[in-house]
């Protein structure tokens, strides 16, 4: 019974992870400029990775390995936005102008 619930939860987490990673990929391909792409790259992707890693932790079960997964999760949550910030800032400093509504798609 508990195993069934656990498998169900794993399935839900993997599905959610896939969904948000899909959103991130769509965003990176569809959005018009590097700033808006950085949004999805940092956020949807982080959440997607978070759900997928939660599923992995559930599959592995309690133990040192699961702690490693949590560590990985924490690490991704800290570094992903920082990396996105660094990239966006590099773009800003290089003088890439943010796209606004009405501009042409790039």
């Amino acid at each position: 019974m508990i195993t069934t619930a656990r498998i169900g939860l794993i399935a839900v987490f993997v599905a959610l992870g896939l969904f948000f990673t899909f959103v991130s990929a769509t965003g990176v391909i569809r959005l018009p400029d590097v700033f808006s792409r950085a949004h999805t790259a940092s956020q949807a992707d982080t959440l997607g990775a978070g759900f997928a890693l939660a599923a992995v932790a559930l599959t592995i079960g309690w133990g040192p390995t699961a702690v490693k997964t949590v560590l990985l999760l924490f690490f991704i949550f800290v570094t992903n936005p920082t990396a996105a910030h660094a990239i966006a800032r590099a773009a800003y400093e290089e003088g890439v102008e943010p796209w606004t509504r009405g501009d042409e798609r790039r």
Binding site: A44, N80, T82, P98, T100
Partner: protein, 392 residues
Amino acid sequence: MTAPASGIVVPVKRSPTLRQTVGYVIQQALDADGDAPVIHFVSVASWRADDPGSDADRRRATELLEQVETWSRFELEEADADPDAITIETAVIGDDDYLFSPADYAELLTAYGESHGLGHVVVDPEYSLVGHTTLVEPLEFELQQRKLSIEEAPVDRPTRRGRLTVSSTPARFLTLFGTSFLFYQILGGFSGLFDIVTGLATALVVAIALDNVSFYRDPTLVESPKRLARGVIYVPYLLYEIVVSNLVVARVILDPRLDIDPRLTKVRVFVGSGFPLTTLANSITLTPGTLTVKADDQELYVHSLVPFARDGLFDGALERWVRFVFYGREAARFPTPRERGDTEILQDPDASSTADANAVADGGVDVDGDSGVDDSTDIADDSATRSQEGER
């Protein structure tokens, strides 16, 4: 204008080397032969005249110019010169343009120089343009393209980012040592003597090498665990916030019409620099729809994707939470950025949409509007005073 073409124009902005630059310029003018040298100190506006909060910006610029003028008078007295030997003028320029690139700045300075007969530009090497850290080189390049003679004031520059390294203390050393040791044991799976010995050695190396860059303040037994506990309360809220707004943004992105309205916004936040600011900036970035592009002391340049995210940002919930995590409950009570009038939408076609915001609560908050000068002040004290002001 009949002013001599040898007049000097100096763009000013608060920087650690501005004082020296002023001294240098005055000396230059005194040494120069010829009659009645002219010096214009100009503050290039980073705002537009009709922006919300522009009054406060203008006031600060004017104060800075007054200070520069005082410094100049002082320099003249020091040099035993006739106070009227040099004509000093100050001006705020460019507040009806949206300046973005170094070229815009150069254009403006050139126009100003031409209309006042000033042919020489002296730049403070630490002069910064809006939205850039130090881009003096591109600015100088642009100016050279425009037949102005240009010169960088020879100043002793402070070591850049000197405050990143601080001297080490036992508390810092022990905290870092313990954390690294624990981390090592987790990675190794707590597997016996070998791991403990190698872990001790590794943690020692890490602690010796990095304890002077890892902390802004000493961790204490009372305050640090409290902060950690409040941080633990913050995490579920942040996760909830992330999921909710991720769903909103997912809807927008998967919508075939792609109904986005991206804007760069500027928000002044009060959380103290260093780790709290990093936490806030990262939280803002993690919450979908908002992305911190640049953190300039207490001014965050945030790119927002949809109006929903913008409203959330201006309501300042995250800012309040970060203050709560780092300084406790009293510090959390404080007007939102919108109420303070500390929000600004850059590249906004109709700036009037937030014009009602700057009517409120402008006074009292501006106490350290020039936090760019010295942000190593004791943050906890600062925020305590600020929260009192918030209650007034």
